[in-house]
């Protein structure tokens, strides 16, 4: 049986920690090891942060910004698998134009998505200009004997 938890989150920086702590608590209850829990915390924070920073056009009014950067997070726990879905209805972007950053290059842009892809076992990102962005990320629990 899959356990499902849904959150609708205002696009405000202070709620990213709330989502992060929720993800950590769910992963801990599901038996993930400390390293995996840390990975999940960073990945979900990066996804939420991207929405707040890039979910609307620069110069948008505060009211519209909050509407455009409101997002839904859905957690699904099914056996050894934790799936996290993050969806917004902001400006979206063209994933084809995204390139991974050069490691160590002194700039921070584009780093968030790269970190999500590195830390999670499966990542699926779909985005459409004007319609928003959907990210599905999965982490698989390692057998206890494989945990360090």
């Amino acid at each position: 049986m899959t356990d499902i938890l849904n959150m609708t989150v205002p696009g405000k920086p202070e709620y990213v920690a709330t989502v992060r702590m929720t993800a950590a608590a769910l992963a801990m209850n599901a038996g993930f090891d400390i390293e995996a829990i840390e990975d999940i915390k960073v990945a979900i924070s990066e996804a939420c942060t991207n929405i707040i920073l890039h979910g609307d056009e620069p110069g948008t009014s505060e009211e519209l910004h909050l509407e455009k950067t409101k997002y839904e997070v859905r957690f699904e726990i099914d056996g050894d698998e934790l799936s996290i879905y993050v969806e917004d209805h902001g400006v979206g972007y063209d994933p084809g134009r995204y390139t991974d950053p050069v490691p160590g290059e002194i700039k921070s842009g584009g780093l968030g998505i790269f970190i999500v892809k590195t830390l999670m076992d499966e990542v699926d990102i779909r985005s459409q200009i004007g319609a928003g962005t959907y990210i599905c990320m999965k982490k698989y629990r390692r057998p206890a004997s494989a945990a360090v």
């Binding site: 920086p13 990213v16 960073v42 939420c48 002194i106 970190i115």
Partner: protein
């Protein structure tokens, strides 16, 4: 979550000794940027950031540190990090910033 930032002028070593405790994310990174910028505005010198009590950082926090580093390296100055916890070290390694900052 909160962040605690301590800034000390280490006159003997001619550098800013910074201590970060707590979590640096999109909510707390602006105060880290503000404190580092204020220190550099007062005196341009190297920066050493002690991460012993830093429990969490993400790309927003790394971005602040990298941006500060980018702003002073042309003057021959550096930003160095010490004692990162495992999770923080992993993120530094993934981003490739470990080579220039550790």
């Amino acid at each position: 979550m909160a962040i605690s930032i301590q800034v000390t002028d280490n006159a003997a070593e001619k550098r800013w000794d910074i201590s970060l405790a707590g979590e640096v994310d999109i909510a707390t990174a602006p105060s880290v940027r503000e404190r580092l910028s204020a220190a550099l505005a007062e005196k341009k010198q190297n920066i050493l950031i002690d991460l012993t009590d830093l429990d969490y950082i993400d790309s927003t926090g790394l971005g602040v540190i990298i941006s500060v580093y980018g702003g002073i390296r042309a003057d021959g100055l550096s930003v160095k990090l010490k004692n990162p916890k495992a999770g923080v070290r992993k993120l530094l390694s993934i981003s490739g910033f470990d080579k220039s900052l550790l």
